[in-house]
């Protein structure tokens, strides 16, 4: 029991630490691209720890298996990267200064958000009948 409590406490502490780091990062980092890392990476890790703590708590102390946390994790891991990706793309698209500092894209063809298709027409068909 004591061990379980200790594990839960440790996980909660770890989670809280990363959540705090994420929030501080969101506040302190200088520009959007760097600021994006804080809530997506640190916070995801923090939430993950809290969720694991929850699983352990219910399994070891309440004595029942809870799968909600797994689902929450799954959806979180799906949504956070997509959100981060879309925010970054929108930023690239709207902020010309950032776009001009970009390195050339690997494999030629340019950045998808900014540059046109190198082989137009190869991948799409005209709109429906």
């Amino acid at each position: 029991m004591l061990i379980a409590e200790a594990v839960v406490a440790a996980l909660l502490l770890t989670g809280s630490f990363f959540l705090l780091v994420g929030s501080v990062g969101l506040l302190k980092l200088p520009d959007l691209m760097t600021r994006l890392h804080a809530p997506t990476k640190a916070t995801t890790l923090g939430i993950g720890s809290v969720l694991i703590a929850s699983v352990v708590y219910f399994a070891a102390i309440e004595g029942r298996v809870s799968i909600h946390e797994l689902l929450i994790t799954l959806f979180l891991f799906l949504t956070a990267p997509v959100t981060a990706h879309m925010v970054a793309k929108a930023h690239l698209h709207r902020d010309r200064a950032t776009a001009e500092r970009l390195p050339p894209a690997a494999g030629g063809g340019g950045w998808a958000t900014l540059d046109d298709d190198p082989e137009p027409g190869a991948r799409s068909e005209p709109s429906g009948p």
């Binding site: 959806f75 990267p81 997509v82 998808a112 991948r123 799409s124 068909e125 005209p126 709109s127």
Partner: protein
């Protein structure tokens, strides 16, 4: 029963002509005729009993609480009119078969005609006066359809509208009069009212009731000053004019005067108003008729004049005058209907109804000409025709009506009216049929097919026969009808050609001679008359209608100017006033409940809510920002629901929030991103004060409600949820069971809203809106990859997961938070994500079902579930549930409420997706983007706005 069937048969039969017209015009006319014929036979079955002195009655309750009964009776007067309606109707049906052209939709014509016939029969056979009024208005409506039958003619449409406005308005006045009459006598049954004449005439309500009823009767029978609508109704096809405007509908007012004669007649007011109006109408209309060049207009005004004659006879209120009135109704129906038909034949053959362009037709159309001459001689009142007989009786009656002050006024004017009648009848005969044959007819005329002149011949034969043998042919009919009006005391009269040298005969001779002299002097008199100014009734009517319409428009637009802010302001101000009044006048003690501590969590949420609201006010011109802030408010509200232990509401709120935000984002794409500042500072200050005031008022109300104990129905719902509805989720049980009927109504409204979105946005794809849309260019730069790989893949992976969540929420809804509505929104969001990530075109190609049908199925399933309860003898939407044991799965509860919930689910999904699909149609029209084939696609430079066909 068969008496009610007499009335109902034409209504039932009215569906036949539009169906039978496919078998040809003759079959259609035959079927219509047989409907009328069977109704006539059914009616005549009652005739022997009626003439023995019995009164067949049939009655069913309809709305007993209003005194409305479905009751009919037939006495001699009603039978006389009903037989007239059906017999002449039969002739008209035959005539119309040959009159209507190949291009005229005959099925529709006969359908309207039968509807009219049924309504007319209802008037003359109704026992209940309220039922009579229903049929009265039905004749106005069906005659509207008949007058406007040639929809392409503006005169037809205007004439129909005028007739409806005048007669329908008069009908409303009569409704009030009839209600007064019912109040006086305590019954709405004519058979009971008719015996209480003394009571009615002594009542203080007599005069208002009389005036209102007369207003109805005079408008219907085109009495002065309401005579103007009848000539304009002549835009109708001639069979309609012959039927409605000579034989039947215009006689409805006359009929009613006769019907209520025993109750209302006999007072000074009756004599002055009815007799005076009749006399004035008779003379004025005859004067106008004489100078009308259009044959139908001439006949129309002559009809008005003759109706005035009958009205005058009722007005005399003597038994002899009443008999004369009945006799003249019969005679007028025969000769005037025949005359209208001959006018129709002339129009049909010559293609002109202008008396100035006609003449000499007797030589070219000998049959029609002869018939017309005989009929017009009867109208003029020449012996030995039936018109002569009743005109003699009229003059006789007029000779006895001598108010002491002006003893010669009535006889003199009556003779003058008869003189004019001779003049216009002679004009119809001389200027159209006699004289030399001309060579400038628009079309060379000859006699029409027998089908057209045979009905005329039948009527003219009656004209002659009644004239020669009045006592033998018309005697019993007139006696029966008069007997019903007079209540058994027939006066001393004799229907005969020769009464000896009487004052009436002398007056008649003067009228005939004078009329012929007047016609001989026609052109000089006309020159004098044309030089005089005359009021034009149609122009006055149009001015009145225009004035009324303008006043109504000013009143409505004064209140409803289309500005939504204004409506909201009216709402807010009136609620605020109500609250303030309540505050001032009510008694309010301090609350008794202890307030709870808010906690810091609630405090933070409250601050966020406040920040969101202030943000919206500050940034409401930037539409995207305002939308995001609105959704912040919604999010906090759903958190508040969760905090206050209402998970169902929280789930609903958050899913509604997501769906609306996404849909609004899609719609905002096509709108300017910023709103222009339009309101002045003073106005904003005023609105701000209103908003703060109402917010404070509501806060106070909520505070007062929450700080005291009160009982509500919720305890009952909580208690009954499991035993009564079989579910532990009270919210869901209330929605699908306790208040299922409300929910049913709501999903119907939602479905209608979905279709309304379709209708509104569909309009943007047509006409000028579509051209503007095709010119639309995005106001923001587009990314080169419109459908980035990561969201595409993520949403596709999520789709089955999200659908599964939807199913899960649906299934558990009855016992745990969830249900059809939330689950539908979850499913809709899952589909919305596909549209957002992979593009409209891609998603549309894959989601192939029709959302309109989905809405229909949803409402249908919910309704059928409700109807299912009837199979068990339970009220609509009673739900049933039971527990079943399944192998492996275990015990499962199955409730019919779940099927109802499925209906809710389908309707909600359908409505959301209809909105989405239509936004996406607009988007694809505005920005025709190629449909991607692979998850990752670059989109080549956006193509020119092409005119590609609409894809689905």
């Amino acid at each position: 029963m068969s008496l009610a069937l007499v009335v109902l048969l034409p209504f039932i039969g009215a569906i036949l002509p539009p169906l039978m017209i496919r078998s040809g015009r003759t079959v259609c006319a035959t079927v219509t005729g047989s409907v009328t014929l069977s109704s006539l036979v059914l009616l005549l079955i009652h005739a022997p009993a009626v003439y023995r002195g019995e009164v067949p009655v049939v009655a069913y309750e309809w709305l007993p609480s209003l005194g409305l009964r479905f009751s009919f009776f037939a006495d001699g007067f009603g039978l006389f009119f009903a037989a007239l309606i059906l017999a002449i109707g039969l002739l008209i049906i035959i005539y119309a078969r040959f009159y209507l052209g190949r291009d005229d939709p005959m099925g529709r014509f006969y359908c309207y005609l039968l509807l009219f016939q049924g309504a007319m029969l209802g008037i003359v056979l109704s026992d209940n006066v309220l039922l009579l009024l229903i049929f009265w208005e039905l004749t106005s409506l069906s005659s509207f359809l008949l007058i406007g039958y040639w929809r392409h003619l503006p005169e037809g449409r205007q004439g129909a509208r005028m007739a409806l406005a005048v007669t329908g308005g008069g009908g409303l006045a009569m409704l009030a009069g009839m209600l007064l009459l019912g109040q006086i006598t305590g019954s709405y049954e004519l058979t009971e009212i008719l015996g209480q004449g003394e009571l009615v005439r002594a009542s203080p309500l007599y005069l208002p009731a009389l005036l209102l009823i007369l207003l109805g009767a005079f408008t219907k029978s085109a009495q002065f000053p309401f005579h103007f609508w009848l000539p304009h109704a002549m835009a109708a096809p001639t069979p309609v004019s012959a039927y409605l405007h000579s034989a039947t509908m215009v006689k409805a007012g006359i009929f009613l005067l006769g019907r209520l004669w025993p109750v209302l007649a006999g007072t000074e007011a009756w004599f002055l108003i009815v007799g005076g109006t009749g006399l004035v109408t008779m003379v004025i209309a005859a004067w106008i008729a004489l100078f009308k060049d259009d044959l139908k207009a001439l006949l129309a005004f002559s009809t008005v004049s003759h109706l005035g004659l009958v009205t005058m006879l009722w007005g005399f209120a003597t038994p002899f005058a009443a008999v004369a009135a009945v006799f003249h109704i019969l005679n007028h129906a025969t000769f005037k209907c025949a005359l209208f038909m001959t006018a129709g034949i002339v129009d049909h053959e010559v293609h002109s109804r202008d008396a100035r362009r006609l003449g000499g037709l007797l030589h070219l159309m000998p049959i029609t000409g002869t018939l017309a001459l005989v009929a017009s001689a009867s109208m003029a009142g020449l012996p030995p025709l039936n018109g002569f007989l009743s005109k003699e009786m009229m003059l006789e009656a007029a000779g006895h009506a001598r108010p002491p002050a002006y003893p010669w006024l009535v006889p003199g004017l009556a003779t003058f009216g008869a003189l004019l009648s001779v003049a216009y009848s002679a004009r119809y005969a001389v200027h159209v049929f006699l004289g030399p044959v001309r060579d400038d007819y628009p079309q060379h005329p000859h006699d029409p097919p027998a089908g057209m002149w045979l009905p005329v011949a039948v009527l003219v034969a009656l004209v002659v026969l009644i004239g020669l043998f009045p006592a033998a042919i018309a005697g019993p009919i007139v006696a029966g009808a008069s007997d019903a009006i007079l209540g058994g005391a027939l006066p001393d009269y004799k229907l005969a050609l020769w009464h000896g040298i009487t004052p009436a005969l002398l007056m008649s001779a003067v009228a005939t001679a004078g009329g012929l002299v007047l016609l001989a002097l026609f052109w000089p008199v006309r020159a004098v008359r044309d030089a005089m100014p005359r009021p034009e009734a149609k122009r006055i009517f149009d001015a009145i209608v225009l004035g009324a319409a303008n006043a109504a428009r000013r009143a409505s637009y004064g209140l409803h100017n289309g500005q939504l802010q204004r409506y909201v302001m009216f709402f807010v101000v009136s609620v605020l006033v109500l609250i303030l009044v309540g505050w001032q006048t009510g008694r309010l003690d301090a609350g008794t409940r202890e307030p709870l501590a808010a906690g810091y969590l609630a405090g933070i949420a409250w601050l966020l809510l406040l920040a969101g609201c202030i943000g919206i006010v500050a940034y409401h011109r930037q539409r995207f920002l305002a939308l995001i802030l609105t959704s912040l408010v919604g999010l906090i509200v759903s958190l508040a629901f969760l905090y206050l232990s209402a998970p169902d509401l929280a789930l609903t709120q958050i899913s509604v929030e997501v769906v609306t935000t996404i849909l609004m984002l899609l719609a905002l794409n096509f709108l300017p991103k910023e709103t222009v500042a339009e309101s002045s500072v003073a106005r904003r200050l005023r609105d701000g004060a209103l908003a703060l005031g109402s917010g404070a008022a509501f806060a106070a109300i909520v505070h007062d409600v929450l700080t005291r104990d009160f009982t509500s129905i919720s305890a009952y719902h909580l208690e009954q949820s499991k035993p009564g509805g079989g579910g532990t989720n009270v919210v869901n049980v209330i929605l699908v069971d306790f208040r299922g009927y409300d929910t049913y109504g709501e999903i119907i409204v939602l479905g209608i809203a979905g279709l309304a979105i379709f209708a509104l946005l569909d309009g943007a794809l047509r006409g000028p809106a579509a051209r503007r849309l095709a010119r639309w260019a995005p106001d923001q730069p587009r990314a080169a990859d419109l459908h980035p790989l990561i969201p595409v893949v993520a949403t596709r992976v999520m789709l089955p997961l999200a659908l599964m969540v939807g199913v899960y929420i649906f299934l558990r809804g009855h016992n745990l938070p969830g249900g059809g509505f939330i689950s539908a929104l979850v499913v809709a969001i899952a589909l919305l994500m596909q549209y957002m990530a992979s593009g409209f075109g891609w998603a549309e190609q894959r989601i192939r079902f029709d959302y309109h049908v989905l809405i229909g199925w949803g409402v249908l399933i919910a309704g059928l579930t409700g109807l299912g309860a009837w199979l068990f003898g339970l009220p609509f939407l009673t739900s049933g549930f039971d527990y079943f044991h399944f192998p492996v799965v275990g015990e499962v509860e199955l409730a019919t409420a779940a099927i109802f919930d499925l209906g809710v689910f389908l309707t909600v999904v359908g409505a959301v997706m209809v909105a989405l699909a239509n936004l996406s149609r607009i988007a694809r029209r505005a920005e025709p983007i190629p449909v991607p084939q692979e998850p990752m696609d670059y989109t080549a430079p956006v193509p020119e706005p092409a005119t590609t066909a609409e894809g689905r």
